[in-house]
Symmetry: C2
Subunit: 709 residues, 2 copies
């Protein structure tokens, strides 16, 4: 294990565990909270569990004798330099000098975890952990061989007090009252004013009988006691008035409470449940509709950022890799919360052996790799890569073992090829989109193999990636159609051109400039190519257009599509939007009247587009060591905002005559064009020719550029 | 999955789970009950856990509508023909006709388990289970593909009532009183008369202060408060007299209870904890010492037969594969309890991925395969082989991936090569014993691959096995030494000859008759070859001698070795016995004064030797479809006994002039030699020449043979 990425600061104590174990068990709890009309609705793939027996250890050099308090979730023993203390001590004394402390914990029910606190001896992520224990190797006559064991650094988060047990973790809540309540005979229709999430609280509940809570993201849904997606049944038997809070948090704007004649109820409120993350990014401009879109996207994303990045709060409440991948990207422009990215990555991956694709979906396995690629680019966090590398490798082994005789990904028993919700989308033969995602995943493996110091593997992955990219063009590029075709069936190119592989090849830079221009016309702006209706794939389509400089076009699209939902009264963005539908038709999906989620993470993509392609900020070296800022007003008069980095925020104000920028993290390059020679007092502008200019932006420094767009 | 081995009898309901999951979690609980002087002492290898999310299903053809009661350990839903009932119903109604019932259960804490009981719809081992759920495949446009999922038959045991929850399983107990008690001032030395196991119960405990219980397999150990291996500390705070039972069961004959002046105690008894298995085999003869050896072996085996076959009851209380392998063999001649064999096999194997050898020991991985070979031979249970086959395969993949460049097993980082506790035993280079065990393991894989209908794999395993057997002789046989040498180092045979590979090659029939005779002289009966001191390897040494017809010699050895322990007052057989030691010296091992276990399963081998090589009963086709009976008095005047089979017991009485036999299970052949022409009224004796005779023994029939030995 390469520990060189972790600094040994030995300061604050925190609860620690085997990396990924807390996350996997938390995901089990969270995902299995899904219900459908009162019925438990678990995921349909293998889920894993924690290692039940864990060894934690670290060597300390203690300046003077100290007493150390020990808190453990599980049965345990403590060893000092290999010798066990009697029983399971709550406190030990460690003499001055160099000492190795081992704590071995068994816990079948919860994740084995420890919290250790002395003056200098504290539990933190610098401890080593293993689910195997090769101390005994000494006894077999062979030298102790630490390399036989997969030691990792401990996992941790923010459980910094001894009483804050990881097993008891719950998201925080705060009470919120109804915006309006309509009382009927033995019923109450409550409107919270906007989409929300949490535990319904019934106040002053009294009497004998049954009560039902029908939830609705729309009023229609709450009123449809037969077809609403979620509900709660309560047996009331309260001689005196009592408040009662529902056991499961749910998504809704409206609740329709209906109860027997023998039951009375004062009022209904809710405990809003949320993830305690900080907003660091921002965006504002002269267009109020865009500002409103940004705000509702932010709220949509807030609701879907929970223990993990989930798909939508009403129905699945599950962690889906393709959905999470987009959330990661939005996150880099709003919260920059690395912990939620890592947690989601661990939860999605689960444990070995790999018995199926992530979420059972081939493309979602690849998005998992891509998420790591981006995580490293945005955060520069090598330590997580090293900790996670073995899981990447065994998942890639699974993938590579499922290539067909031509080395291509093709449907195999057990696979779901998703791509997108789109009518008539063919999954037959070898689909170009999957090969493209594999190529990018292999590039990710090569990158991470280098970080994990697995040089031979890096070379192999690079070769495989180059080979896949080559095949992608050899097999799927069609000169006549000026596009990658959708698939190959029985060894022959199909006639079918779809947007998927083409748009990804633009922002993956797989196309050369000529191909990009061809594809823009032949595919992206070609109405004969099947249109995309989910915000999921709209995300990439608009990204591809932005990457081609079509910000003005995309701004109009944003106003049409997201603005269209707002005009229909949306208080959060939907799973799918088709402007041709009317009224309650919008709520139907999957053949169910209220099947559609009205608050879906993938609906929040303007957060990403506005940050990356309008403010124009993106890292060009891991962790923003280098970055570019290429503002593009896309027809706006002015815009301003912040983009978070691992160290501070990049701040930007852009109008048609002025750019103000403050740097952060590393060294940036502001790129812009100007009809006149631009001026900046704080730095030196370099003329790149053809009206293009560049300014080096240093960390923490502010610059004002006068120019003419 | 080949389900053809399981009959669909649909009779009694029982709790069911994923096969192996109950067993693995029970092993976690049991093995982590080990303590050393009050300190938690867990195993030092990876342990696994249950799948937390499980789908159970079965298709029923119901003659008329029935109500079905449902009991579940975990959160669940129930589906009838793919449609879920609301909530988690405790009872459902199933209409007449063909219906599929699915119950999906999530349980993070305990093994997901169900108990279903209707008139015809009941939960039993014919249900299918999976930790994946590929129902959704329908939705992806591909036909439902059940082969994508590893369906297995449900696991079960004997939890036949709805209130008998698998998660609450405990071995039964019964109270036993002390044989004698010596009271001191604030102390009590209690003798239970013989080695025992269970929970100490303190009667009439009263007052304030501390009390300690020091356990001893010997009186010396109980009195050695500083060095006894196990102890309990009790804080007493009882104003009135109270009985208190210790939380953990322990092994002892003596307990030394010491308490503060403020504490008083009436008496001490114990709750004997035992596995509820039935004795079906028996042995008696004219030699009272041998009868006593058999009885003490039986009691030793009883004590070590618990949730699993464990090594010894005092110290490890763990499931060790090499030890368990011998217990299986003893079991076939005493209990014939298949459930304990299967449970132990599951517990040892754990789950994928394989990250180390079983118990970390290379030879113990091989004994796991050998145990399955024998299990099939004795029981004929194809269903277990089919259920277990994937786990066999992935463990063998692990082994094969660890061969060196010459295709041989050699120490690799993380391995423990055990062989035996013996001074100076070399583990360097490629040890012949490990190659021999690999060859036999590959034969087992070939056998089981055929049963699991994996014909290609069977061919490959057969080829690999033949190759290993060939190498064994090419590399290790030494004509001069007339033996297999111990090892090869740097490509050269060593000079070292040990007994291990040589004695196994006899009863594995790897030697031809000439080699057997050579090895008997050059190794087995050669005092210059390092002697074996553990009953563990004595087991195989005596087996090899018996297989060579040396029953008289072995009888004498038995009387010396096991009789020797009895003469020293042993009430159960020990981990190791060295007649040259004196007094309490016998109790030391591993550098600890009382480190030796005085009740070790491998000490009970006379059970096996007397049944297999004196009564002479052994299966020659799976499940005793065919068997031979070759009685050998080995110098005894007469002997009689029973040998259990899957269907009834084979009964035998043998003197020098008469053999009485009753057949069971399948068709047996009684083989014997006689100086005169033997007579049998019930069957036809065939003269095989050279004074050898055979009699066919049919199922359930009794025969009396008059002959002269």
């Amino acid at each position: 294990m390469n520990n060189s990425f972790l600094q040994d600061t030995s300061s604050a104590a925190t609860w620690i565990w085997y990396p990924g174990d807390f996350e996997i068990v938390l995901a089990n709890k969270m995902q299995n909270r899904r219900t459908e009309r009162g019925t438990f609705f678990p995921v349909f793939w293998k889920i894993d569990s924690h290692y039940v027996l864990m060894d934690f250890h670290k060597v300390f050099d203690v300046p003077e004798q100290e007493t150390v308090d020990i808190y453990v979730e599980g049965e345990y023993h403590v060893k000092l330099d290999g010798k066990a203390f009697e029983g399971s001590p709550k406190q030990i004394t460690v003499p001055a000098g160099k000492h190795k402390i081992n704590i071995k914990v068994f816990n079948q029910t919860n994740v084995p975890a420890i919290y250790v606190k002395g003056k200098t001896i504290v539990s933190d992520a610098t401890w080593l952990v293993t689910f195997e224990d090769k101390e005994w190797i000494d006894e077999t006559g062979k030298a102790s061989d630490i390399s036989a064991t997969k030691w990792l650094n401990a996992g941790s988060w923010n459980f910094n007090s001894p009483t804050q047990l990881p097993s008891q973790f719950m998201l925080p809540t705060k009470e919120q009252s109804a915006a309006s309540t309509t009382k009927g005979n033995n019923s109450m229709l409550v409107d919270f004013g906007k989409e929300t999430f949490g535990f319904i609280k019934l106040h002053g509940l009294k009497g004998n009988g049954n009560l039902s809570v029908y939830y609705g993201e729309s009023e229609e849904e709450a009123l449809s006691t037969e077809h609403c997606e979620t509900l709660d049944r309560v047996e009331v038997n309260n001689p005196a008035e009592k408040d009662e809070t529902m056991k499961l948090s749910k998504a809704y704007r409206f609740v329709n409470v209906q109860y027997d004649a023998g039951v009375s109820l004062d009022s209904v409120s809710m405990m809003y449940e949320y993830a305690d993350v900080k907003e660091r990014g921002s965006f504002a401009c002269n267009d109020e509709e865009i500002n409103r879109i940004y705000d509702v996207a932010k709220y949509t994303f807030e609701l879907n950022t929970r223990e993990f990045f989930i798909d939508g709060i009403k129905r699945d409440r599950w962690v889906w890799s393709g959905d999470a991948y987009q959330s990661y990207l939005m996150n880099y422009y709003l919260y920059f919360d690395s912990e939620t990215v890592k947690r989601t990555t661990y939860a999605l991956r689960g444990k070995d052996p790999v018995t199926g694709h992530i979420n059972t979906i081939m493309d979602y396995t690849f998005f998992w790799f891509l998420g790591i690629y981006d995580y490293y680019l945005y955060t520069g966090d090598k330590h997580f890569i090293a900790q996670n590398y073995d899981r990447m490798k065994s998942l890639m082994d699974y993938v590579l073992a499922r290539r067909n005789k031509d080395g291509l990904m093709e449907w195999m028993s057990g696979d779901w090829i998703f791509i997108d919700w789109a009518a008539g989308l063919s999954k037959e033969g070898e689909v170009s989109f999957e090969q493209l995602l594999l190529a990018r995943s292999l590039e990710t493996m090569a990158l991470c193999a280098n970080i994990a110091d697995d040089k031979d593997a890096a070379t192999q992955y690079n070769t495989l990636a180059a080979d896949m990219r080559k095949k992608l063009f050899e097999i799927y590029w069609n000169d006549e159609k000026q596009a990658l075709v959708h698939s190959r069936v029985d060894g022959k190119q199909t006639e079918n051109v779809t947007r998927y592989a083409n748009m990804f090849s633009i922002f993956f830079d797989y196309f050369n400039q000529q191909q990009k221009n061809q594809v823009k016309t032949s595919v992206l702006l070609n109405d004969d190519i099947q249109k995309i209706t989910t915000p999921y794939m709209r995300f990439y389509e608009l990204e591809a257009l932005c990457a081609m400089g079509e910000q003005s076009y995309v701004l109009k699209e944003m106003k049409d599509y997201w603005g269209g939902m707002l005009k229909l009264g949306a208080t959060s963005f939907w799973e799918e939007y088709n402007p041709s539908k009317e009224g309650a038709e919008h709520y139907a999906m999957y053949g169910r009247e209220f099947g559609k989620s009205l608050c879906h993470a993938w609906g929040a993509s303007p957060l990403y587009l506005l940050g990356k392609y309008y403010l124009g900020v993106k890292p060009t070296a891991p962790g923003y060591a280098n970055y570019v800022v290429e503002p593009n007003l896309g027809g706006l008069e002015w815009m301003q905002g912040k983009v978070p980095t691992p160290a501070g925020e990049i701040e930007l104000y852009v109008s048609k005559t002025q750019i103000k920028i403050t740097g952060a993290a590393g060294t940036g390059v502001l790129k812009f064009s100007s009809k006149t020679k631009p001026v900046c007092k704080e730095g030196t502008i370099v003329d790149k020719g053809n009206d293009h200019y560049e300014l080096i932006v240093e960390i923490g420094k502010s610059y004002t550029v006068q120019y003419v767009l």
